[in-house]
């Protein structure tokens, strides 16, 4: 027994957790100083939030080289992992924070307010997300999950003038809480069987675990409940019901944030938990992931087709993207195959590229539908507001076209690289049926994007007001488009990262 005098605190590698600290510092300054001073000029709220995210990105890039030379390792007594899988997620999340902060700044100015809370919430949500993707312990993971989720509930409800925004927040809160409970119950059951919540300990315990029938059932129920918790957060079918309502009701920049940061965090954490902790049960969860993935792909893309609201359309398309990412996880469940790592790399590349695409797309939506944001919510974001956009604002129309083609997975865009990666992973482990389902769903989803493009290019504009693209939004959308095209033409840029990507920290 340790008595209190001999307790030694864990060694903390401050540099390695500095991305977290950067975001935390930004959030604290925004909240403390922001609440004590009047409204800051020159969009400083957004710049500060972006600055702390950029610092986090820089540190992550430094850490990346560190991991390349010294290998992946665990931090803070094994609570967090430092590996390239987590770092890539960190960079994607911080990039999304930068882009979304600028979109939000323009959005809020249009609404006539600028407040520090929103940016502080982005940063706290970011902290939660960073903890989630790096956590090596189910309890730490839960902490991150709740930090992220609580911030997102508030963000969804942050437009106080709109009933739909509050409805979105409440709906998200109730269903999210429900999902967290599932997750926690699952963690408790797994702990009951194995006596640990550390991912790597779970793996060693389960690998040498002689399955007693009853205990194995408890374990599988636990794993299933953890999966249900994740499935809610990632919005996998049949746990997706909240997604379209929340995406539609929330302020558009927040939707961009949820679709990028929320999704990346939950997906990367999901992959880490299942690949690090439960590889010995991969036959069991692999089959479930296969079914979930196929369902998510089919429902996401088919239901998207019949939507008339652009945000609902993109909500369903994001569901279908999650299905695509699961194709990579499914490939990573084939432990016997020599190509099992392809799945992990596919997932990591997909989430990063997807983040840029989805932020850019919602950025355009945010700009285009802004002028009517105070009117009835269901009408203002209707697909009709895109009619004739390309004639009105050719560059914006072109940007949106590139982003939509990327989402559809057309070659020479990053979307194709992302899809190619996971499909290649699935095929290389022999999951042909899932690969075919995914590609067919990609075609169905393409119809959705074509509908938007038809409205932009081929329909006549109904109202004659010119869409104004504010500078910061222009930068955000521009960055997203540039990433989409550059990676599309030179996929080597992201694929070069992949050599150690699949090596998850476990020691």
């Amino acid at each position: 027994m340790n008595d209190i005098s001999t307790f030694v605190g864990p060694v903390i590698d401050w540099l390695a957790i500095s991305p977290l600290l950067a975001l935390l510092a930004g959030a604290l300054v925004l909240l403390l100083v922001g609440s004590l001073t009047g409204e800051w000029p020159w969009r400083l709220y957004a710049h500060l939030a972006a600055l702390s995210a950029v610092v986090a990105i820089f540190v992550s890039v430094r850490l990346w080289d560190d991991v390349d030379t010294n290998g992946a390792r665990l931090l803070i007594g094994g609570a967090l992992a430092l590996d390239q899988f987590a770092l890539l997620g960190t960079i994607a999340i911080c990039l999304a924070i930068v882009l979304v902060s600028y979109l939000t700044s323009d959005y809020l100015h249009r609404e006539g307010v600028d407040m520090p809370e929103i940016y502080a919430l982005y940063l706290t949500a970011g902290i939660g997300a960073l903890v989630m993707i790096a956590s090596n312990d189910l309890v730490v993971l839960f902490l991150g999950l709740e930090t992220l989720s609580l911030s997102l509930y508030l963000l969804a409800a942050s437009n106080r003038q709109q009933v739909s925004s509050q409805e979105a927040g409440l709906k998200y809160f109730i269903l999210g809480g429900f999902a967290s409970a599932f997750f926690l119950y699952g963690v408790a059951l797994v702990y009951g069987v194995t006596g640990s919540t550390r991912l790597i300990n779970l793996n060693t315990a389960l690998a040498s675990f002689i399955p007693v029938p009853r205990n194995d059932a408890v374990l599988l129920i636990g794993i299933g409940m953890i999966l249900i918790g994740f499935a809610f957060k990632v919005s996998l079918v049949p746990f997706q019901a909240w997604t379209p309502d929340v995406y539609q009701g929330a302020p558009t920049p927040t939707t961009a944030f949820m679709a990028s940061v929320g999704k990346i965090a939950a997906l990367v954490a999901l992959v880490r938990v299942f690949v690090v902790a439960f590889p010995s049960r991969s036959d069991d969860w692999g089959a479930i992931i296969l079914v979930l993935s196929a369902l998510t792909l089919v429902v996401g893309s088919v239901v998207a087709v019949v939507q008339t609201n652009i945000k609902r359309m993109l909500a369903y398309s994001s569901i279908s993207h999650a299905g695509f990412i699961l194709v990579g996880l499914e490939a990573a469940s084939h432990r016997a195959s020599p190509n099992v790592d392809d799945g992990l790399i596919g997932v990591a590349v997909y989430v990063v590229l997807y983040a840029a695409m989805v932020v850019g797309t919602f950025g355009v939506v945010s700009v285009v539908t802004s002028d009517q944001a105070n009117s009835d919510a269901s009408g203002s974001t209707s697909l009709d507001s895109f009619k004739g956009l390309a004639k009105n604002q050719p560059m914006l129309g072109l940007a949106m076209t590139v982003l939509l083609l990327a989402q559809a997975g057309m070659p020479l865009t990053s979307g194709f690289v992302a899809k190619f990666g996971v499909i290649q992973a699935a095929v290389s482990v022999g999951s042909y049926e899932l690969a075919v389902i995914a590609m067919v769903c990609a075609v169905i989803a393409a119809f959705v994007y074509l509908r938007i493009m038809v409205n932009m290019w081929l329909a006549d504009r109904t109202d004659t007001t010119t869409v104004v693209v504010p500078t910061l939004s222009r930068i955000s959308i521009g960055v997203a488009v540039v990433i989409t095209l550059v990676v599309g033409f030179l996929p080597s840029l992201v694929l070069n990262l992949g050599s150690n990507l699949a090596e998850l920290a476990s020691k």
Partner: protein
């Protein structure tokens, strides 16, 4: 054996055939913002230069050589074994040249009427994609080019087409994309299976075809996945329904390109990728493909006979003609495959010209209804004469280009696919029926009031059509220069297939 000749040329002609139109497309799009009046000139300069380069390619091509010439092979995505690998042999040479010639003719000859800048930018992007598809020797590169073509074509149909253009454009996009979805999985599976034999990952079609062997079952599945994509593109019955819509609704320029070169990406893909990679599976699938091809020949001909819209008639005649090409492709004899390759080019020339002529009729009369037209021969004899030549080339009259290809296909297919060939021959008769009947209704008789003011062909149109007529007559009378460039490659292709299917 088909092997890449490693000759290094100082000037990367094949790469420039792709990159020049691609860059010009961007330049045109940017020019449109400030100097809209220069866009046509820029588009024309680019496409004429590309055309000149492709003609130079034709001249420099060594006619006795069966392998790939002017090969350009640069690593692109080395992690996945993907390279920028281009090359032409006798099978692709004339398709490349056709693409090079057709685009400047379309750009100079057809006025888009509105939004010139984007029209020309899409046209040039389309040219880059088509060129790339015909020259790519890397499966990934081919897929990229094959797929990217959809985007400009979609916008061309959707932006400059007729009443039902959005429906037609969307249908075209989704049908083709659905086909290629299977092909993408097939390509990745091919590479992943070939890795076991080769020991390394490569998308290089030559290395895979020469070095890898697939189990019978795997090869069949893979062949099917490729065949679906190409069957949609060709299009084969029963996935042809996008074609009449797309052709009818597309602007004249779009139709010419669609019929002239885009459909050939399907038949060419069958040869270059489907059969070349999986000869045994192709042999196994032959009866089905023969049957679909022959159904296409007969069904296309009957449907064409029934059409009231002149453009739709020509569209259905494409279904029939491409049925012939597929029949020849899968007969896998030297004559039949040569015939198929020749016929790909011929169909591009004659159907492209027919669409141009129908477009001219529409410009003058603002209708394509056959029943609205009458007696044009009396008021526009030269126009009627040109139409006659082009039509007879499409029918396959001896002495014109259509005969050469059709005859070779029928002779070459007779041995391996006797009964199918006999039925397909009926299609030749039907082709004469629907085209001559349409000609009779449109050009003969006494012109009524609306048709009596039909304008005679003008100088610009005349010069445009004279290029087509010259190709039609030259190839028909003296096909030897064409055949002697195609045949060596086809022979070595057949040898490859035979050595794998013994």
């Amino acid at each position: 054996m088909i092997g890449a000749s490693t000759e290094v040329l100082a000037f990367p002609i094949l790469s420039s055939l792709v990159i020049l139109p691609l860059l010009s497309s961007i330049v045109v799009a940017l020019l449109g913002r400030t100097r809209a009046e220069w866009t046509k000139l820029a588009a024309l300069t680019s496409s004429v230069t590309t055309g000149a380069l492709s003609l130079w390619l034709l001249g420099a091509f060594k006619s006795g050589d069966a392998g790939f010439q002017f090969v350009s092979n640069q690593p692109w995505i080395s992690q996945w074994g993907i390279s920028w690998h281009l090359g032409v042999d006798g099978i692709s040479l004339f398709l490349v040249v056709l693409t090079g010639i057709l685009f400047p003719l379309v750009i100079v000859g057809i006025d888009p009427h509105h939004n010139e800048t984007s029209y020309f930018a899409w046209m040039l992007l389309l040219q880059a994609g088509v060129m790339g598809s015909f020259m790519a020797l890397d499966l990934f590169l081919f897929f990229v080019m094959f797929e990217i073509v959809l985007v400009p074509m979609y916008f061309l149909i959707g932006g400059w087409g007729y009443d039902q253009r959005v429906y037609a454009a969307t249908k075209f996009f989704l049908y083709t994309m659905a086909g290629s979805a299977f092909m993408l999985v097939g390509i990745i599976a091919t590479v992943s299976l070939a890795r076991r034999d080769l020991g390394f990952v490569t998308f290089d079609v030559i290395k895979i075809a020469e070095g890898a062997t697939f189990s019978t079952n795997a090869a069949r599945w893979l062949f099917v996945s490729f065949a679906i994509a190409f069957a949609v593109k060709v299009p084969l019955f029963p996935v042809h329904t996008w074609l009449p819509d797309a052709h009818t609704q597309a602007p004249t320029g779009g139709s010419v390109i669609l019929a002239g070169v885009l459909l050939k990406m399907g038949t060419y893909g069958f040869l270059r990728f489907g059969v070349y990679l999986f000869p045994q599976a192709a042999m196994w699938a032959r009866p089905v493909l023969y049957t679909l091809a022959v159904i296409g020949v007969i069904y296309g001909a009957i449907a064409a006979t029934m059409q009231r819209d002149l453009k739709r008639l020509v569209a259905y005649s494409s279904v029939a003609h491409l049925g012939f090409i597929v029949l020849g492709t899968f007969a896998l004899s030297s004559q039949a495959v040569t015939g198929a390759v020749v016929q790909m080019v011929n169909h591009g020339v004659s159907t492209g010209a027919l669409f141009l002529l129908v477009g001219m009729i529409y410009e003058r009369r603002h209708t394509r209804e056959i029943s609205e037209l009458r007696g044009i021969q009396h008021v526009a004899p030269v126009f009627a004469a040109i139409f006659t030549v082009v039509m007879l080339s499409s029918v396959g009259l001896p002495g014109l280009n259509g005969f050469v290809g059709e005859f070779l296909i029928l002779i070459g297919s007779f041995e391996s696919a006797r009964w199918w060939t006999i039925i397909a021959t009926v299609g030749v008769v039907l082709a004469a029926l629907y085209l001559l009947w349409a000609y009779q209704r449109v050009f003969h008789g006494e012109p009524d009031e609306a048709n009596s003011s039909f304008k005679e062909i003008n100088i610009k149109e005349g010069m445009l059509m004279s290029v087509f007529v010259a190709i039609i007559v030259f190839t028909g009378v003296y096909p030897k220069p064409v055949l002697e460039r195609i045949e060596p490659s086809v022979n070595s292709f057949i040898e490859h297939v035979e050595s794998r299917t013994k």
